[in-house]
């Protein structure tokens, strides 16, 4: 069973709805026992970084623990940003530190937030993008992005006037800045791929 972490931020249900739509068992929970027994975890998030981290509270340590022990973890949007060391959104906030890098503002000189559908180059070997070809459009809505510094992470990029990292894979840790649950059929395929990864775990 995939557990979508319920931590009092916006729009966690959309992820559950999308998994249900593709016939994948999932539950929304913040119970440590349920999280520990899951086949994989999804950390969603529509919130500002600092608010999301404080809403996560004590669950942060548990997530770090189970992810370090090898459980597949998929961070989405702010949930993806929280995988990194820190963010400078509305002050300086510490993240989960599972992937090296800092979350910083998208450089000025373009429309911000980066909101809408952008083309993501899908590198080979990123399991989330299996069978999706070389590039696909995904839905984004964010003003900050993760400047990935982790040499162990595979990275997918999108062009937003600069080469912006928008998805990572580091061992059992996965993350997408875009919203697979809101990226139509392509996004549902990404969630399907994550469900497959969890099954193998």
């Amino acid at each position: 069973m995939i557990v979508v972490i319920d931590y009092n931020v916006g729009n966690v249900k959309s992820v559950c709805n999308a998994f249900r739509h593709i016939g994948c068992d999932n539950t929304l929970s913040r119970e440590p026992k349920v999280i520990e027994e899951s086949s994989g975890l999804v950390l969603p998030g529509v919130a500002a970084f600092g608010y999301a981290m404080s809403a996560l509270g004590a669950l942060a340590e548990l997530i770090k623990e189970v992810a370090s022990a090898g459980k597949p973890l998929l961070g989405i949007c702010v949930g993806y940003q929280m995988l990194f060391d820190q963010s400078s959104e509305y002050g300086r906030h510490k993240g989960l530190g599972l992937v090296e890098g800092n979350v910083v503002g998208i450089p000025a000189g373009r429309v911000i937030p980066h909101m809408g559908w952008n083309l993501v180059k899908l590198p080979e070997g990123m399991d989330l993008f299996a069978e999706l070809g070389e590039e696909k459009h995904f839905y984004f809505a964010h003003s900050f992005y993760a400047d990935v510094a982790d040499s162990d992470a595979k990275i997918a990029y999108a062009d937003y006037g600069f080469n912006m990292p928008v998805a990572i894979q580091k061992d059992n840790i996965y993350g997408t800045q875009f919203h697979p649950e809101k990226s139509g059929k392509t996004g549902l395929k990404v969630l399907q791929n994550f469900a497959e990864i969890c099954k193998k775990n």
Partner: protein, 254 residues
């Protein structure tokens, strides 16, 4: 780069989609969940649902509608109409909306934009503006509130610039003069807006032909085009719109 977005707008009244002309003479356009799912399947980039009754009774109905839409639609959608508090924004986001638009409440209490942005992030906070050409000052537009029924002295462009500073992440700009006329967007308004703010602007009001979409993007500088009559009542599919735009060199998600 980002593609230009095609956004069907579903004005909802008593659980039905309706569409009027210049905010009046409403016609029935179908069931909101069915229509939303259809547009999503056809390749719409986003949807906007506006509760145009926005009464206390309709608030609960709106939350239920958002939940139903979220179970069936896997593209982003914005919900608005009568949103007054940060708690209501929270409830709508939790029910499955990606973004919530505020209009009158932000005019009355601009801090709602700042508070919502701090709590949910700017990308969730859409400022909806109903704009009307000023009868006294040429080249100016005035903000109208309460579903367009009450004109204010507030200048549309100045208000948007202020709202951007406060934390609005997107402007949904409806020209009341053009709304439902199918005579084209007010691109003078759109251009003035896109020149003044750095956040995405959704042009709304007046789409009737495919070339209107192109004009709003190219002449108006819009990041997204919203339409209702042209999708609800005309025979244009989302795919036709996107193929047309792509044929004229506009990047779309097709």
């Amino acid at each position: 780069m980002l593609t230009k977005r095609i956004i069907p707008c579903l004005d909802v009244k008593d659980n039905r989609v309706v569409k009027g002309v210049q905010f009046l003479n409403l016609r029935d356009a179908g069931d909101p969940v069915e229509l939303g799912a259809r547009y999503s399947d056809e390749g719409a980039d986003e949807l906007v649902f506006l509760d145009i009754t926005a009464t206390i009774r309709s608030r609960k109905t709106l939350v239920e509608l958002v939940e139903k839409v979220a179970e069936n639609v896997f593209i982003p959608f914005t919900v608005g109409g009568g949103v007054q508090t940060v708690e209501q924004i929270d409830e709508l986001l939790r029910s499955g909306a990606e973004k919530v638009s505020v209009n009158t409440a932000a005019v009355e209490n601009p801090d709602i934009l700042a508070e919502a942005a701090r709590r949910f992030g700017s990308q969730c906070v859409v400022l909806a503006i109903d704009a009307r050409r000023s009868k006294t000052k040429s080249g100016k537009w005035q903000v109208c509130v309460k579903a367009g029924t009450e004109p204010t002295d507030i200048d549309v462009i100045e208000w948007a610039v202020k709202a951007e500073k406060l934390g609005a992440g997107e402007i949904l700009l409806t020209s009341m003069d053009a709304d439902g006329t199918k005579a084209g967007y007010d691109n003078e308004l759109n251009k003035a807006m896109t020149d003044a703010v750095n956040i995405p602007v959704i042009a709304s009001g007046g789409a009737g032909k495919l070339e209107h979409l192109y004009d709003a993007i190219v002449d108006g500088g819009a990041d997204a085009v919203l339409m209702a009559s042209i999708t609800h009542f005309e025979n244009y599919t989302i795919r036709q719109m996107k193929e047309y735009l792509r044929g004229r060199g506009i990047a779309v998600n097709l």
